[in-house]
Structures are given as C-alpha cells and as structure tokens.
Amino acid sequence: MNASRPNPNNEESHSSLSLAVVGLDGTGEAFARAGMLHPAFRLVTVADPRPERGAAVANRLGVPFAPAYLDVLNDPTLDGLIVAGDMADRATILAEAAVRGRAVLATSPPAGTLTRLDDLILTASEGGARVACPNPWRVVPATALAARQLREPGIGQLLAVFAAHRTKQAMGDPLVELGLPLLDYLVGALRAEVVQVQATAETLFATDGPGEPDTWLLLLRFRTGLIATVELGRSLPAAFPTDSELRVEFAGSERVVVADAENLGVTTYAGDGSVRRNASGPDAHRALLDGFLPAVRDAQAPEESLVTLRWVMPLIEAARRSAAEGTPVSLTRR
C-alpha cells in the first residue's frame, strides 16, 4: 500500500488537489482510502473530534493526523474537505466548514431535521461554501445499475418495490441515517412522487436505553398507485451475517431487478425465465470523489447539494409523525 500513501515529493502529487477527511467513522475511513488512491487528489491529513479514534485511523492508513480538527477546517492550503463521522459530529463539523466557505463533500445525511438542514443551507450560502452532498446509492454499482435498468424498456408495469437497509452499527435514528439516502434514491430512481407514508417504529434490538427506535417499517404510496415497502434497522444482533446490508427490489410485470449492495450485484429476472447477474462496478467512494472534483477544481456548484436533499425532509418528518400518531400521513404537493 506504500505507493498509495500521500507523498509530497511525488511530482504528480504537486499537480493534484489537496484533501482532508474530517470525521473518521467507517465512511470517513473509506473516503480517506479512496482519496489516497484517486489520481486527482492528495490526501494531506485526517482529523476527528474524538482524537483517539482519529489517531487510530490515521495510524492504520499511514497518514498525518491533525489533533485539532478546527485547524484542518482553517487550513487555507487545503482545496477540499470531506466531512463524515457520526451524525452529531458531522452536523457540527459541516456547519463549521460551511461558515468558512470551504469546498466540502458531506456524507449523507447532512442533518436530521428540515430546520437543521435549512440552517446548514443558509450557513453555506452566507459563507460562500460549495457543499456537495451526493447520494451514495446513485453511484454504488448495484443500486446505480438497478436504477438504470428501471429506465430501460422491458421492466413492464411496476408492481411493487421492496427495499431493506439494515446494519449492526449502533448509529442514530435509522430513519434519517439510512432512510434519507435510501428514500432519496428510491424516489429518484422511480421518478415518482410519494403521496402518503405509513410508518411503524420500534426499539427491537438496541440495548442503549430507550433512545430513538432502531427499526422502521415504512409503506410509501406513490401518486402512480405503486407501493414501496421499506425496512430500516440499526443495532442488529452481533450475529448478523454482515456489517450492513442493502437490498432493493423493483418488481415489474416483465422483469424483476434486484440490487444487493452488499454483494455489489444486480440480478435481473426476465419474463422468459432467464436470470442475469451483473458484475460489480467501480468503487463508490471513488465515484463520489470524481463527482466532487468540479466543485474543488473549478469552483463549480455541486450537482447534488444540500438543497437537492431538501425535498426528502418532509417525507422523513411525515414518517415520524405517522409513527407517533399511528396513522398514515399524506404528503401534499407544495
């Protein structure tokens, strides 16, 4: 892995853009690795509000560690910042980066409520920050391919959609952490409007006190009449076979497309009984960095920004209200 380590003496690296990752959860670490391998970027440093965790990751990656993350946010020599980390950390770091007018790639979700998201949007706009907040499911090979296949002729009438994202991680509210990107992806892939949501939320597994629910069952009704069944879960038992699992199934009358992001594969069941399995594509973090490039290099407004995600918040909030009140909640067009 030595060749991929940041090397200030490497001639090529002089021409590349300097990058730092702040917030070193699993996603932050994955971005750091992708940054080390990306030809256009040079990973200069990593930081985390919790220095012990940050130091451990930096050590693992063999990159310099900045004990005070604010120093990184203030460093004028850095071209771009990636903000990851646990939800609470992430929102704070993001606000601090936004106020400093930086080019930021924020991992999704950037905020848990519409108010907080709007705060961030305002801060970024006042600070002149370019904050990209891309949806990973649009570039993860399996889900990206599934969305493309939905657009190809041949799926027939869409009969049902099933999506489940579950993880062993003890994260914050999975409705936001897992649901926000997934719902955004589903609606984007289906190009349809959700008109009603019914949500059932429960703490089934988490043992960290009576906190936020760890499991959400959502039934979404689209204007087209289509129903999507969505399951979101965190804190699954340690025996759960994988750290995290995402399965999205688009069931059409002519073809069924199943994206299994864990195995990075798409299985297509066609009407003639044939089954096609597609190979996996390029690394998703790498693809997200590719998308971030114009915002850093050319000071362009990012294609998927905080504003892009704004639409999904009412859906999240409707789901919360549905779970609290025990009734389906309709979403009316504004």
Binding site: T215, L219, A270
Partner: protein, 394 residues
Amino acid sequence: MSDRVGSGSRLRVGVIGAGTIAVGAHLPAILRLRDSLELVAVADVRAEAAKEAAERFGAAHAYTDTRELLDRSDIDAVVICTPEFLHAEQTLAAAAAGKHVLCEKPMAATVAEADAMLDACQRAGVRLMIGHSRRFTPRYQRIREAIDRGDIGEVRLVRENERRPIAMYTAQAGWAGYWAPDAGGGNARPWLEQAAYSQGAALTNAVHEMDLIRWFVGAEAVSVYAESRITDPNAEVPDFITASIRFANGALGATEVVNRLPPGYPVYHLTEVFGRDGLVRALDPAMATLAVTDPTGTTFPANWGTLLQVPIAYESQLRGFADAIAADGPVPLDPVHARQALALSLAAVRSSREGRVVRLDEGEEDAATPAAAVRRGITGSDGTDPDGVGTEGQ
C-alpha cells in the same frame, strides 16, 4: 354419521372439491398413505372433475352433490378442497354428519364463519384441522426448532415476503380455478380474481405469511396496517399486499406478497426471523426455472415443490390428522391458529380498504361486505340454506 371411527384400521376419507390443490397435493398424499388411509369418494360440482379424480386416485364413488358423500356411513373424515367461501358451509355439514374435517386454508371467508366451524366441530365431537401446510414443511419446522432451541434469542422481527409468477396457476392446461359458481362451467374469470369469492392476495397466500409470522413470533397480533393493490386491470381483487404488524410482546411482523410477476420468475420466498441474538433467513433465489414435473400426479411446477415441499408437507399434515383421529387425541395443528391467521389477514384487508391501522380487538366488520352479499346470493340462491349456516347472520 360414520359407522366406525378408524382406530386400528384405515381411516376412510372423502375429498370434497377436486380442483388444483386436491389433485395436485391432497389426493396424491392420500394415495401415498394408503396403508393408513382409504379414499372412498370424491365430490365436485364439476361431474367430470369428480369422476376423473375418483378414477385416477382409486375412489369407488364420485358425486356432484357433497350431501351424497356426507351421507355415506363408510366415510370417517373429509378433506375439504373447495374455495374458502364454501369452507364453513361444508365443514358444518360434515360435522353434522359426524365426519372429521381437514379443511384447506384459509379457514373461512370471515372470522364469524371460522368460529362457527370451531363450535360446530366441538359440539359434534369431530376433529377439525386447517391445512396450513407450511407448518408441515421441513424448512419452516427447522426455523421454529431453531427458535425453540433459543438459537437466536427472543424473536423481535419477522419478515415474510412471497412472490409468484402470474402463470403459476393459469398456465396449467384446464386449470380448475376457472370454475366459478356463476360461470356455468365456463371460464369468465378465475374465482380467485373475483370479488364475489375471493379477497385476493390477503387470503390466497398472505394468510400463510400471517400464520408463519404468528408462529415464529409466538404471540398474538395487536394491530396491522396494510396497503394492497390491484395491478391487473382485469382483476377485481388485489394481487399485491404489504403489511406491518405489531405483536403483544413488542415484536414486529412484516409481509409483502406480489402475485403477478413475469411468467418465468421463480416462485420466491424470503423468510427472516430476527432474534435478539441472531437471525434465521431462508431465501429461494436459486430457483430460476418453472419446470413442470409430474411423477406422482402433482401438477405443480417443480420449484413450487422445492419451495413448499408440497409432497412432504401434505403427507405429514394428513398423517398427523389421521393419527390424531386414530389415537383419539388432538390434531397436530390447533385450528385456533388458523382462525387467528384469518383474523389477521382480514384485519389487513380492512386496513388497506379503510386506510388506517386496524386493531385486532376491534372485532370483525359487519360481514355485509359486497363479497359477503354476493356469496349470500349464491349459497342461498334457492332461498334455502341447507346447513343452516351459509354466511348469513355473521
């Protein structure tokens, strides 16, 4: 009343309804269990179907009138394989004739009918068992055993998804399901797709999911929210249903059933039981084709057999029923479970119709639904209700 109950000798059986499930599963199972079962008669309103089944499976008698079968004193038990709107009426008639009853799922068309069946069989002193065949399918039994052994700890969430290709039934030549009371032997639409006779996916297969979820959770359902859909413009009943269920012990259940997938799509079934300590998952992704094999008389596609282990399940279900009668003991699956699964399915139907969470303790809605009204019209078309039940007064 039968002249003896088959202890020590073969249990003498009559089959009512010689359609898909009878010919595909029950009659072959009776044949395979011929050491302990004797097929005496088959009844079906379609004379040809009754005759053919009797000949093929070795019954001496074929009837178009179920009454004649029930009047025979040399029949100990009946297997009811007719559509669900006939289950109560025929079970009550069988109980009144002193016959033990193994009746196909769903138990009945309404909970009130199911209660009448329980009551009638108890009063008549005959056994009643409902054919929730998946409880007798090895893979589900293994799952329940894993739960019982404590392998996964307390069950917290159960998901049961099922998908079917559209042609699973209809592609079969001469499919019996095209029969409908008012089709005059013709084939307007299968009864399964007519609102007069069927609730669609909720009772066709989601009742299996409801039963399995209850079984794995090991508690009673408290409330359900469901969305259903008619995706086939020609059908009158939903071919899609999805539901979220709350249980009394705090566990959740979830199910999604889609019955109109491409013809080549494999019968798909996903079972996931999440416990506090682990997970049991059964998925059928490998069944990629819909081959039809027919060595012992089954007309189901091979993958259906793989999925549901039809021959094994129906055989063990029937053996359990026969053994219970022989030993004068309880049937291996208490019909109350079938009643509860039915109540849950019907609550899901109501939820999807009314767009709200339905609590199980709300009780059944007035059975004066359009479907019930039409059924009443059919069963009481001549102004009589021969068994004094029908669907009236529910």
